[in-house]
């Protein structure tokens, strides 16, 4: 794949895997309203994945469509960040993941709207509106849980603690990112970090929570070096396409 196709692929994989994770909640959330909200975010992410992966397939030009990319790659070829593949855990852990990710995604899409690639820019323009809701949803829950009961506070801290080590990867730039940036197609992710930090800190302050301590970042998702969680997720997600090759649905 070319760097630009890979760039679209990474965007699509992030959305796809987060959508898949959130879909696991369906029917099991703490309250009906939450079930609705999480399904909403899942739906948005699956929609984004459809656009980004379709674009990646088109840029690749080898006849793979979005479904081929979503359902017929193994773990080594998935390029999502490690954050989105993390298990749902309890509700606080799910919220922590969405909180860190949705603020990143909103900043990213805002910048991506300026992409010279008309399709990327159009997808971002549509998605950024959705993402505003994800940001509000996640931030509100961080505040509620952080400044709620003792138990919710402890769980929120634990959830953030689980996810925090994957935050640095969001802003890491590699050759693919650099090429996309130079071409005027991609975003300078490193430059988003300061705004992201400010947003995160503001919400944490409102939630009476402290920012987790920095530690050695865990990287590798962008080049297929994942956690053990992703492989299990793929066994479920890809079952039908793999069990019935050649069928359409």
């Amino acid at each position: 794949m070319s760097p630009l196709a890979t760039y679209a692929l990474r965007l699509g994989d992030d959305s796809l895997i987060l959508g898949q994770r959130l879909g696991e909640w369906c029917g099991h959330a703490p309250a009906l309203e939450v079930d609705l909200s999480l399904a909403n975010v899942a739906l948005d992410q699956v929609g984004q994945a459809t656009h980004f992966l379709g674009l990646a397939g088109a840029l690749e030009g080898e006849g793979r469509d979005g479904d081929a990319l979503a359902f017929r790659r193994d773990v080594m070829d998935f390029t999502n960040c490690l954050l989105v593949e993390q298990p749902n855990g309890d509700f606080a852990q799910t919220i922590a993941r969405l909180f860190l990710f949705s603020h990143y995604q909103e900043l990213l899409f805002m910048a991506l709207m300026a992409s010279k690639d008309a399709q990327l820019s159009a997808i971002a323009a549509k998605a950024v509106k959705e993402t505003a809701y994800h940001v509000t949803l996640a931030s509100d829950w961080v505040v509620r849980l952080g400044d709620g009961t003792e138990e919710s506070r402890a769980r929120m801290i634990a959830g953030l603690d689980w996810m925090w080590r994957f935050a640095d990867e969001l802003f890491a730039m590699d050759d693919v990112d650099a090429t996309a940036l130079e071409a005027g197609v991609g975003v300078d992710k490193a430059a988003l970090r300061a705004a992201w930090d400010a947003r995160i800190d503001a919400v944490l302050a409102d939630a009476t929570l402290e920012r987790p301590a920095s530690r050695r970042p865990v990287l590798g998702g962008r080049v297929g070096r994942h956690s053990e969680h992703l492989g299990h997720l793929l066994t479920e997600m890809q079952f039908l396409q793999r069990a019935y090759p050649g069928a359409t649905w």
Binding site: H28, A31, V34, L36, A39, T50, E151, W249
Partner: protein, 311 residues
């Protein structure tokens, strides 16, 4: 008695009864039972379909299924809200469900085994639900009737989606067609059970019809469902699993076999194939969610107190 007569006259004139209107206790009780049962069915009904969200076969189907299950959660919400206008809280209704006191549709105690079941549920289960629900758009209790208008619109959309999935499978590979036929085999009879026991064993029907809580008998609706669904199956080359099924020229309707009522009553008693799984899932969601609901309440109180202190 005068109030009762006036009430019955209004109902007979197809007027809507509203929350603040006077109503007989039995009417209120019957309505709460029926509406909460309906709401519970939406919520429990999320589980068999939710079981396939992580395994939907492509991105489009995944999105459609997510949206559908989300709609069901929405229906649950409308219905709980409508039932709450009669003075029973959602938490009370939920606890009645979890304790086994309140019921939900027997259909959701059957498992979804293959992707074709997602088609079959939309086509047959939502199809049967619509058959039950369309008349309820004119039911006598205003909030219920208005909820049903909104719900019916979405349900008929779901029904078409389900039929479309099934049609696609029936026209697919031999394996897919086999899957579709197998799903029809498994869901057909439980779908017929959705209309409830035969009329002669349905003691509340008469009262409910007089109150316009029901507008057709169980057997009438069942017949209607069979008459509409059998040609749909034939149109896509699937066979309804009933040897007694036969067009009756004279009646202008299908004759069909006897439902296994023993199975139906066992499922009502809570002995459906996956009834334990369904209740376990709901119980777990409720228990695991307790700290979240507590936190939301405590947080709201804290903020309200802080606001008051600041004023």
């Amino acid at each position: 008695p005068a109030r009762l007569a006036a009430f019955e006259a209004r109902v007979a004139a197809d007027e809507f009864i509203e929350p603040k209107d006077w109503m007989p206790d039995a009417y209120r009780k019957t309505l709460v039972r029926q509406m909460s049962q309906h709401a519970h069915s939406e919520i429990v009904g999320m589980l068999p379909e939710g079981n396939w969200i992580t395994r939907a076969p492509n991105l489009r189907r995944k999105a459609i299924l997510l949206a559908k299950v989300q709609d069901e959660a929405g229906h649950g919400l409308y219905l709980y809200s409508a039932a709450e206008t009669l003075g029973t809280s959602r938490d009370e209704m939920t606890e009645a469900l979890l304790s086994g006191k309140a019921k939900y549709s027997t259909i959701f105690n059957y498992p979804t085994l293959t992707w074709a079941d997602i088609g079959a549920i939309g086509w047959l289960v939502d199809g049967a639900a619509i058959m039950n629900q369309v008349p309820l758009q004119r039911t006598s209790y205003g909030p219920y009737a208005r909820a049903m208008v909104r719900i019916c619109k979405e349900e008929s959309f779901h029904q078409r989606q389900g039929y479309e999935i099934t049609m696609h499978l029936a026209a697919g590979t031999p394996e897919q067609k086999r899957m579709a036929q197998d799903a029809l085999n498994r869901w057909w009879w439980p779908s017929l059970m959705m209309f409830g026991p035969p009329d002669e064993k349905s003691p509340n029907t008469e009262q409910s019809m007089r109150w316009r809580i029901k507008r057709d008998t169980n057997d009438e609706l069942r017949q209607k469902f069979v008459d509409i669904t059998v040609p749909q199956a034939e149109a896509i080359g699937l066979k309804v699993p009933d040897d007694k099924l036969k067009w009756n020229e004279e009646r202008g309707a299908y004759d069909f076999g006897e439902v296994d009522w023993e199975e139906f009553y066992a499922v009502v008693r809570g002995e459906g194939p996956v009834a334990k799984e369904r209740m376990q899932a709901r119980q777990k969601a409720w228990d695991d969610g307790a700290w979240v609901r507590d936190a939301a309440r405590v947080h709201a109180e804290k903020r309200a107190a802080a606001k008051q202190a600041a004023e």
